[in-house]
């Protein structure tokens, strides 16, 4: 059975993001957030506390919200809460900082919350904080506009741009192509902050001492084509923000590197960069730069840049979620099924009983020697080549998994007798025996294969795998490089 509760917390955050981006006022956003938090954590209670006041809650009868108890939990004076109908519940609280700082409280009957669940609640609080900041800014500007005709034009523009932030969130939640979303963010950041230049940089995957430009506005293409990489140490505020995981402001570029001077045509006077994250890890920074000598970045500029950087982080995290989920079920080196996935699929296949199943347990011969003499990189290359060759000999209905190290297991569907299974094993030995070009050398690798057939008296997947494993060891004992069919007599050899 797959463990449905142990997936990446980012999936829950995406669900919340989709919900949050649909609200247009603060009360609705808080009401929606507490319901979603309770739903995700299967909790009886969720509440938001702002300025020593419970501003939204779910889980208590109307008009009977125990405000004092919830405030005590927000202040961390206690960590349990009595909930009518659910009894004594374990509570957790996450605080968010910033100009509208507050707390998200979640309480649930039964055992406490796992580390992953804490992480989900933290992510939710951060998203909530971002959404509330945007909504409050919008509301405040609505009010100001009514009071001051003089501010009308600038506020109209600002409101339009803040609304644009919601468009970005919606684009992320509807999974528009990542490049398009990143371009949308850099354009919006330029529009809102009014600077001449915006660039989004991420760590270069081939050389993490360098940053790579993935989206930009206002940089001359001749000087800064997308895909350009620069050393972090010479990347000014961009590099500093990535290294310190904080917003960095640089005024005056008298002492700037030649590289930065070249990229901006020598015009850059001030710059500011905020880190961006993928699943909580710094992965790059969003940089704005001004060519005006009088440009000064104040607290509201910093907050705005952070908001855009958060949007980038969400977009990157979202884009990688499907990949990560795939990886959780796949062996990261070879792309074959993981052990867990293989066991699930085998169990399903056996329970369905619709077709006979044969298992091949394969262990490479002298793999350790390759690893020891040629190094791990060569070992990895050998495993990848083996995986590709194995796959080439199988049908789409067959499944092959890497169980770890140099062990592979193959499930042959619709194979009911020793002759058919042996023919596949023979083919695999043949193709693996062909020379492999590894680390500039031609290697020949043998393998030992144990075969077990599924019969009605072996209903357990683990038992079937064990039989194939035992047969494989018989091959190893008898001089390697070959295959053996499991027979009951082999149990005695194990005992």
């Amino acid at each position: 059975m797959t463990d449905h509760g142990a997936e990446s917390p980012h999936v829950e955050l995406l669900e919340l993001l989709a919900v949050m981006s649909s609200f247009s006022d603060e009360d609705a956003a808080m009401g929606g957030a507490v319901e979603r938090a309770a739903q995700t954590l299967e909790a009886e209670v969720a509440a938001i506390v702002v300025d020593d006041r419970v501003t939204a809650s779910v889980g208590f009868p109307a008009k009977s919200v125990p405000e004092a108890d919830l405030l005590a939990i927000a202040r961390r004076e206690r960590d349990t809460l009595h909930v009518p109908g659910a009894g004594e519940c374990v509570a957790i609280v996450v605080e968010w900082a910033g100009p509208h700082h507050g707390h998200l409280v979640v309480a649930r009957a039964g055992n406490g919350f796992s580390v992953e669940e804490h992480s989900v609640v933290r992510g939710m609080a951060r998203l909530l904080s971002l959404t509330l900041t945007m909504l409050r800014t919008l509301a405040a500007e609505h009010a100001m506009r009514e009071r001051s005709e003089q501010l009308l034009d600038s506020l109209r523009q600002r409101q339009r741009l803040l609304e644009h932030l919601f468009d970005i969130q919606r684009s992320i939640s509807r999974r528009r192509p990542l490049a398009q979303i990143l371009d949308l963010i850099t354009s919006a950041a330029q529009d809102l902050l009014g600077d001449e230049m915006v660039g989004l940089w991420v760590y270069d995957t081939r050389d993490t001492t360098r940053a790579r430009l993935v989206s930009s506005v206002g940089l001359a293409q001749d000087f800064a084509p997308e895909g350009l990489t620069v050393p972090l140490a010479e990347a000014g505020a961009t590099g500093a923000a990535m290294l310190t995981d904080d917003v960095v402001v640089r005024c005056g570029y008298q002492d700037t590197s030649d590289l930065i001077a070249e990229l901006t045509g020598g015009a850059l006077c001030a710059s500011m960069a905020a880190p961006v994250h993928d699943s909580g890890t710094v992965t790059g920074s969003l940089l704005v730069g001004s060519y005006r000598p009088d440009r000064v970045y104040g607290p509201s500029d910093i907050q705005t840049l952070r908001a855009f950087a958060d949007q980038v982080s969400l977009a990157l995290t979202d884009a990688n979620t499907v990949d990560r989920m795939y990886q959780a079920f796949r062996d990261s080196l070879t792309g074959l099924a993981s052990r867990g996935l293989f066991l699930d699929l085998l169990r399903e296949r056996l329970e369905a009983g619709s077709a006979p199943v044969a298992l091949l347990f394969l262990d490479l011969d002298r793999f350790k020697d390759v690893n020891d003499t040629l190094g791990h990189a060569a070992g990895d290359a050998l495993l990848v080549t083996t995986a590709n060759r194995l796959t080439s000999q199988l049908r789409e209905t067959d499944i092959v998994a890497r169980f770890g190290g140099d062990e592979f297991v193959v499930m042959l569907s619709g194979v009911s007798n020793a002759t058919e299974a042996s023919a596949v094993a023979q083919r695999i030995l043949g193709v693996l025996g062909e020379p492999m070009l590894i680390g500039g050398r031609k290697l020949r690798i043998g393998a030992s294969i144990g075969i077990a057939l599924h019969t009605p008296d072996v209903p357990d997947p683990a038992d079937l795998i064990r039989r194939a494993d035992i047969a494989m060891y018989q091959v190893k004992r008898n001089g390697r490089c070959g295959y053996r069919m499991f027979v009951d007599d082999m149990w005695s050899a194990v005992d």
């Binding site: 797959t2 449905h4 509760g5 997936e7 999936v11 829950e12 955050l13 995406l14 669900e15 993001l17 989709a18 919900v19 319901e35 309770a38 739903q39 995700t40 954590l41 299967e42 909790a43 009886e44 209670v45 779910v58 889980g59 208590f60 009868p61 109307a62 009977s64 909930v83 009518p84 109908g85 659910a86 649930r108 009957a109 939640s173 509807r174 999974r175 979620t321 499907v322 989920m325 079920f329 996935l341 699929l345 399903e348």
Partner: protein, 392 residues
């Protein structure tokens, strides 16, 4: 009838296949009213039965006793699963207290309607054991919002149980009974308090197939893409569906009826029916229940054996939840979709299984368009499950 040992609570069930609604309700009601102090009558009836005539008949044999009820996709009673009958369950005795409420014109204000009917909880005094029973018009969209409205009003203070009325798959209009009226676009509720345990359980009999998928685009209860591919195609691929399920609406419905989408929740997978509201042109899937963007989902499948196992688990859990108390009766609400999976013989065997668990105590239920069982957390609207409420 079964009466509790202390004589303070009883439950009775009667069923009639008479085609005349008044006559059928009279017979079923008399059979169910077997104890003193009846507190509530619950009616489950075929879609063609006349609600007013049934209410009139029950009003005559038990004046002043509140009646709630609804139309079905088949009634489930001790004599097996049947269609077009009138099934009446009655509870009574000094140990039970009941208050009822009704919300009408629910479409578009599901949350408010939920909060409205939930207020009947305040009409009964404090009691150690309580449940709010809800019967909703099964053709209402966004049934979850009705429960959210209840939860907003009541919090975790009381469990919710019930079901969505059926109309024998006609999809033209179901009805609910309450406050002496027959209504569509409505919700009826009954708060039941007891001096002995009331125990709820809900189970589905589905298991996941293959690898999970992420909902990469969804809106208004429809899933447009899974893993960035058209949802319908990936869903069918995962289940190795026959070619005509990809192109023929009828074939898709038939295939998907027994293959819900499993939405990941902390405690397991929640089954979501995607067999209705087919979108061949847009390649999206959905069935009216919310499935959010970003959710992790699995294609699921099941058969008579897995559904039977779920029936066993739900009954066992509900009855075990009564602790040392003897059960006096059960309400058993099963999804209409399960009938399609089980077929006629399988449905009969499911009823026999329920009867075995009931072991002589009365039970009544119906095949629903959605089951309600909020036991913990905030959610409680289910698809393709069996929900059981046991009375001690």
């Amino acid at each position: 009838m079964t009466e509790s040992r202390d004589g303070r609570r009883w439950m009775g069930v009667g069923q009639s296949a008479h085609p005349d609604s008044h006559t059928a309700a009279d017979a079923a009601g008399r059979a169910a009213l077997v104890g003193a102090e009846p507190k509530l009558m619950i009616v489950f009836a075929g879609i063609d039965h006349d609600g007013t005539a049934m209410l009139d008949a029950l009003g005559h044999i038990a004046p002043g006793v509140p009646v709630i009820g609804c139309s079905t996709h088949g009634e489930i009673g001790p004599d097996g699963a049947q269609d077009d009958t009138v099934l009446v369950a009655a509870i009574g005795g000094a140990g039970f207290t009941v208050s009822t409420s009704v919300a009408t014109e629910v479409s578009g204000r599901q949350r408010d309607a939920g909060a409205e009917v939930a207020r009947c909880v305040a009409d009964v005094g404090a009691a150690p054991y309580r449940v709010l029973m809800l019967l909703t018009d099964g053709l209402l969209r966004d049934q979850e919002a009705i429960l959210r409205g209840c939860y907003r009003e009541l919090g975790a203070s009381i469990p919710l149980f019930g079901g969505a009325a059926g109309d024998a798959w006609r999809m033209t209009g179901a009805y609910v009974l309450g406050d002496g009226r027959t209504m569509s676009d409505a919700v009826v509720a009954a708060t039941i308090t007891s001096d002995a345990p009331l125990s709820l359980a809900v189970r589905h009999g589905w298991h996941e197939v293959g690898e999970p998928m992420i909902v990469t685009s969804a809106e208004l209860g429809r899933v447009y893409t899974l893993d960035d591919r058209p949802a319908m195609d990936l869903f069918l691929d995962r289940l190795s569906a026959p070619p005509d399920a990809y192109t023929d609406t009828q074939a898709f419905t038939q295939f998907a009826l027994s293959r819900p989408l499993g939405v990941r929740r902390r405690s397991g997978l929640e089954a979501r029916n995607v067999s209705t509201e087919v979108d061949m042109a847009g390649r999206s899937i959905g069935g009216g229940s919310a499935i959010d963007h970003g959710s992790l989902v699995w294609a699921m499948t099941g058969d008579e054996e897995s559904i039977a196992a779920a029936t066993d688990q739900a009954c066992e859990q509900a009855l075990t939840g009564l602790g040392a108390y003897e059960p006096v009766g059960m309400l058993t609400l099963s999804c209409a979709g399960l009938r399609a999976v089980l077929g006629e013989d399988g449905t009969r065997r499911e009823s026999e299984r329920l009867a075995k668990w009931a072991a002589g105590i009365p039970f009544a239920g119906f095949h629903t368009y959605g089951e309600i069982a909020r036991i913990r957390g905030i959610d409680g609207f289910h698809n393709q499950t069996l929900a059981v409420l046991a009375f001690a």
